[in-house]
């Protein structure tokens, strides 16, 4: 796709609820959380701080995760009310979906109550945020596997570029349940044996570790004292035929943004320790970015359909603080951090590129 985004669009606030201690924006992975398992659970916030008490009990966990991350983000940016809310979710509110489905089957379609059905709707997270902050603006939810977050980014950039919004609350939410973990285990997604997540990349094998989280960003057409980074551009590649095709797409993507491969200060890759999905990351990194420092991040957040949003959170923090946390095992230290490129793929099908630049 030709044409880069013309306006410079800034990330002026972040809120990240993840398996790491990330919701407190003063921290930056000083004490990485490790678990000996094949599942990384997001650390629940004290949701009463974010949701009215009468709502906390009934609200599904993914909604609470989303609201906590979104409100943290708005507070971080000092923004009372965004012009639009645009979110991405891979599987949506699966806990409530399972609840309603299970009750329906067990009770043979009788004696059902509506709460789980109502909350199972895929746009519930962005709708509840709108309700809580009373945002009447544009409100979209993208639900496309490894393109869910990327589509939301693209729409957010367009909304600001075409002047319909000055600020957009952009975010993701995905939750893991015991049942979804079990189903995906049977599909062969996860490691057979528990592994220390922090050592995931040291022990490549079949399967990865499951993750979840809710990550929000406040995008703004104006730079201010809270600015983290420029969210420069995004690109999605659906079922590319080869690493060569991906490399040529990356080249075109960087060119339209006025830079080349050697201008990238840090390459964040979505590798997840699964040997079946590693080859393409290696081919791209070695083929296009032989001298660029690179590292993975999914040992911190686990693998899930919107995990790339954790990568963008990481990139935004790195850019703002101009330092890379130790836990990231960078191949070599970059001299300065001007452009960060995130290359991710989900199941080899949804490949994406996200470019962030120094403001």
């Amino acid at each position: 796709m030709a044409s880069a985004v013309n306006k410079r669009i800034y990330i002026n606030g972040v809120g990240c609820l993840s398996p790491q201690l990330t919701l407190d924006n003063r921290l930056f992975l000083e004490e990485p959380v490790s678990t000996e398992s094949n599942r990384l659970k997001a650390i629940d916030a004290n949701y009463k701080e974010f949701v009215p008490p009468e709502m906390v009990r009934r609200m599904g966990r993914i909604i609470k995760m989303g609201v906590a991350a979104a409100k943290t983000c708005l507070a971080d940016a000092g923004c009372q009310m965004p012009d639009a809310i645009i979110t991405g979710t891979g599987l949506g509110c699966i806990e409530d979906t399972e609840k309603f489905l299970g009750n329906m089957i067990k009770n043979n379609e009788e004696f059902l109550t509506p709460t789980a059905f109502i909350q199972s709707t895929h746009n519930t997270v962005s709708a509840q945020i709108a309700l809580l902050v009373q945002c009447h603006g544009y409100n979209f939810t993208y639900v496309h596997r490894g393109f869910s977050f990327e589509s939301a980014i693209l729409d957010s950039l367009l909304q600001i570029e075409n002047g319909r919004a000055s600020t957009v609350l952009l975010g993701t939410a995905d939750e893991l349940t015991a049942n979804s973990l079990q189903i995906q285990k049977r599909l062969g997604f996860w490691r057979r044996n528990p592994i220390d997540n922090l050592k995931l990349f040291d022990h490549p094998d079949k399967g990865t570790i499951a993750g979840e989280g809710a990550v929000f960003f406040l995008l703004d057409e104006k730079k201010n004292s809270t600015t983290y980074t420029v969210l420069q551009d995004v690109e999605m590649l659906f079922m590319p035929h080869s690493a060569d095709e991906i490399r040529s797409q990356i080249n075109g993507f960087l060119n339209r943004n006025g830079i080349s491969e050697s201008d990238i200060s840090l390459l964040l890759v979505g590798q997840n320790g699964d040997t079946r999905h590693q080859k393409v990351y290696d081919e791209v990194a070695e083929g296009s970015f032989p001298n660029v420092p690179a590292c993975g991040f999914k040992h911190l957040c686990g693998e899930y359909m919107t995990a790339s949003s954790f990568g963008v959170w990481l990139a935004a923090k790195i850019m703002k603080e101009q330092r890379i946390p130790e836990i990231l095992q960078v191949s070599k230290k970059p001299s300065e951090l001007k452009h960060i490129l995130l290359y991710n793929h989900y199941q080899g099908i949804n490949h994406s590129l996200i470019l962030l630049s120094q403001p």
Binding site: M104, L112, A130, V143, H144, L237
Partner: protein, 401 residues
Amino acid sequence: MSKRIYITGIGIISSIGNNVPEVFTSLKASRSGIGEITLLNTLHKGSLPIAEVKLSNAGLLDLAGHRGSDQFTRTTLLGMIAAKEALKSAGIEDVNAYRTGFLSATTVGGMDRTEVFYKDFLENPESGRLKDVVNHDCGESTEHIASELGIRLLVSTISTACSSSANTMMFGADLIRSGKVDRMICGGTDSVTMFTLNGFNTLMILDKRGCHPFDEHRAGLTLGEGAAYVVLESEDVVKSEGKQPFAELSGYGNANDAYHQTASSPEGKGAFMAMSKALKMSNLNSSSIDYINVHGTGTENNDLSEGIALERIFDPVPLFSSTKSYTGHTLGAAGAVEAVISVLSIQHGIIFPNLLWSTPMKELKIKPVTEVLTGQDIRHVLSNSFGFGGNNSSLIISKPV
């Protein structure tokens, strides 16, 4: 924002027809697709009507041009049939002759198969055919359809409840205007499932007699299934190909009611804002709208809230009808189903009625069109789609100039 976005192709499958000509025939004949459940395996068979596509999955597979494969969900099959028709009607042979993307909407994705899986899975977490659950997520149908059409450039899925497929057209048009693509196939697909039927039933908003939109004695909606897609093309493509577009997507707006997760605000704030945004974008006065294809689900709450918003914006309120009385509420497909019907209204100068209507709502001054009106000069149609989570969308579809 000066460039126009044209609708150059349409495709549809619903309870009133498996393609555009069949749907058009049913619309003209005031023939509703609402009736007794025949295919869905549910306890509510015989007590709750729905608007089913009267073909088994095997029949749909045939229609989609596939044989002997059970890899597709019903949602995928419906979408494939309608999307292929849309491409064909746009005269597109080589889909990649221009930069083309595919945006689809769905509310429950592959739920029709997940229900089958889950029954076994609940009894034993090691059982249930994995084939039946890998298609659960909303992106699955989109990817199968995109692959069938040969589209790889930009493929994504929107799920904002009952406004989902209207929203694909907004994003699609924005993408064309941005210069990232030349054309987009936009729309949505949803099959009826036990999950949605029971879900709406627990909310007590399913009318046992079939929906009666904008009627004083309305008692809820009727679930339907189907798929519809439109081909959106840039002004440049239309000019260079010398195409005669069916219609223009001249304006659109999305707003959030921010009132309640499922209910609409009494004053229809979100609806009012969405319609106002669409009018503003199209540079039209409210008096320019010749016909409104209302959301009109037939629930107590929606029709009152939407009606109040209409009376606030329009004076007088133009001719309007809810064609959900034909197709049922097709959820994620509804916005596209109604966009296709709106295009047919413009093309043929016909307003299709709001069936099953008898008594005006006492809170409103307005009443819908109840008979087929032919010979109308319809220049601008407003089509509303409102969803859970206060998601309100309005499209303005115009006769091409």
